[in-house]
């Protein structure tokens, strides 16, 4: 376990020492800032028109902004996961970890936790933006937090899939493109599931990453959705360990 934490610490250190991470955070924050203002604007207009007293700003932030953030992170996560194994392999630095007294599980978990620190930072920035609204209105904190939790779980799931794909190749760009493709497929499984003529529509619906995010975005934290993400993460981390083990033999 100490191996995991050692690797996670240095991975996080390396992520935040690279300009890529800061550039991504900055660009994301600018884009999300623009959407934040657009959604606020849409909310004030909707409030004037509608007589529904239930309509709150959290509907727009949780429902709209976090959905947009999700799409942006779908583009961003492959850029961060490609470096985990593919880039290390290309730089020949992976041997350091493989020849060290650390198990493959420790290496994979360490890398994943390092990546998680970046994703947490991205979501913390988004949270900070959302909670600025607290200054002007009584915010539905629970709903915002549920949305953020959903976003975090979704990102970790993206990250786990990206980490696995990163172990498959030594070309970082291929890892990034393949990750993006796979994530997109998991995403559109939901759309396939919505069409009633497709067989096993329920199964597709269940497998879709986005479907489970919908509940959380609406402020409903159900153990089933959380369990789905955790299983998804564990599956891909386990596959990554298997893949590295295959390579060793």
């Amino acid at each position: 376990m100490t191996g995991t934490l050692t690797i996670a610490r240095v991975e996080a250190r390396r992520i935040f020492a690279s300009p890529l991470a800061w550039a991504i955070l900055a660009v994301m924050q600018v884009i999300l800032g623009i959407f934040f203002i657009l959604y606020l604007n849409a909310y004030t207009q909707a409030q004037m028109m509608s007589s529904d007293p239930q309509l709150g700003v959290a509907d727009y932030i949780g429902g709209g902004l976090y959905g947009t953030a999700n799409v942006i992170l779908l583009l961003v996560v492959p850029l961060m996961t490609m470096r985990l194994f593919a880039e290390e392999r290309k730089n020949n630095s992976l041997t350091l970890l493989l020849s060290a007294p650390a198990s493959l599980t420790e290496i994979v978990l360490g890398k994943f936790l390092g990546l998680a620190s970046f994703l947490l930072a991205a979501i913390a920035l988004l949270a900070a933006m959302s909670f600025t609204l607290e200054a002007g209105t009584a915010l539905d904190t629970g709903r915002i937090l549920a949305g953020l939790l959903g976003l975090l779980l979704m990102m970790l799931a993206f990250g786990a899939a990206g980490l696995f794909i990163s172990t498959l190749t030594r070309e970082p760009v291929i890892a990034a493109v393949a990750t993006f493709g796979v994530l997109l497929v998991f995403w559109i499984l939901g759309a396939v599931g919505h069409s009633p003529t497709v067989p096993f529509a329920d199964a597709f619906n269940y497998l879709s990453l986005i479907g489970h995010f919908e509940n959380l975005r609406r402020g409903v934290v159900s153990t089933m959705d959380v369990a789905y993400y955790l299983l998804f993460i564990l599956l891909f981390l386990w596959l990554a360990v298997l893949r590295l083990d295959m390579e060793r033999n």
Binding site: T2, G3, T6, I7, V10, R13, R14, A17, S18, N91, N92, S93, L94, T95, L96, L97, S99, A100, P101, A102, S103
Partner: protein, 256 residues
């Protein structure tokens, strides 16, 4: 395979704590400073927390990196990066250090320094050096193993590989004798004049005629001033061992 009595297959984690490995391309993290990187390697190899600072300082000292401690690895020259690679392999004081082509791509001064460092490492660790640069092996190693097409074709000390094979000598005289007179000395199979005063002398099989040669020179007043056995370099031995094998294989193939 066992390292320090621990099987690499059954207990890889414990076996690897006794191992320091520098691959051909040093596995460095350019974003980290030398200190950060070595501290990470020490932690990764389970060096106890209290000893980590010491271990890092020792490795830096041994590899001449003390002045570079707070520099980013990506900003270091190739020679210094190689040293960081070696420091990484010895930071946890392993019993066995494996170095794969550690001097590739360095300038002559850096090569000398790295060789000196490897020699010093040999006093405290078992160092396995893999290299295609045979003069390097000759100057650094005690024992040598030559592997050709996956087969061990030679294993023994470097001295045995070079010295024992001596079959000829260069002799020089101030008052040189004739070739015939030299050839008459017992134990000499052939003589070739190199210039007016120097001769190349081939030994008869299994005989070392150097003492007889010196005695003959004294008796006849040839004024011997040089007697130098021709030792083979490791490179010549290597060529002998590897190409000999090939010719042999070719013959066999032709015979078949």
């Amino acid at each position: 395979m066992e390292i320090d009595g621990v099987s690499l297959a059954d207990d890889p984690k414990r076996a690897k704590t006794h191992l320091g490995y520098l691959p051909e391309v040093p596995p460095l993290y350019g974003e980290l400073t030398v200190d950060e990187y070595l501290a990470f390697c020490a932690r990764l190899h389970h060096v106890p927390k209290a000893e980590q600072a010491n271990a890092v300082a020792r490795a830096k000292q041994a590899c001449g990196l003390t002045d570079m401690a707070s520099r980013l690895i990506s900003n270091l020259s190739k020679g210094y990066q190689q040293r960081v690679g070696i420091a990484q392999a010895i930071v946890h004081a392993p019993e066995v250090v494996i170095l794969d082509e550690p001097t590739v791509g360095l300038d002559p001064i850096q090569i000398r320094e790295i060789r000196k460092l490897i020699r010093e490492l040999g006093d405290r660790h078992s160092v396995i050096l893999s290299s295609h640069i045979l003069p390097e092996v000759q100057s650094v190693c005690d024992r040598v193993m030559i592997i050709h097409h996956g087969q061990v074709v030679y294993t023994g000390t470097v001295e045995d590989a070079t010295r024992a094979q001596s079959e000829a000598a260069i002799v020089g005289f101030a008052a040189p004798p004739t070739v015939q007179a030299l050839q008459a000395v017992p134990g000499i199979a052939g003589v070739e004049a190199l210039d007016a005063t120097h001769f190349s002398v081939r030994y008869a099989k299994g005989v070392d005629p150097r003492v007889a040669l010196a005695q003959a020179a004294a008796a006849h007043g040839w004024q011997l001033n040089e007697l130098r056995p021709v030792t083979k370099t490791l490179e010549e031995r290597f060529v002998e061992l590897t190409t000999g094998e090939e010719e042999h294989a070719n013959e066999q193939r032709e015979a078949a």
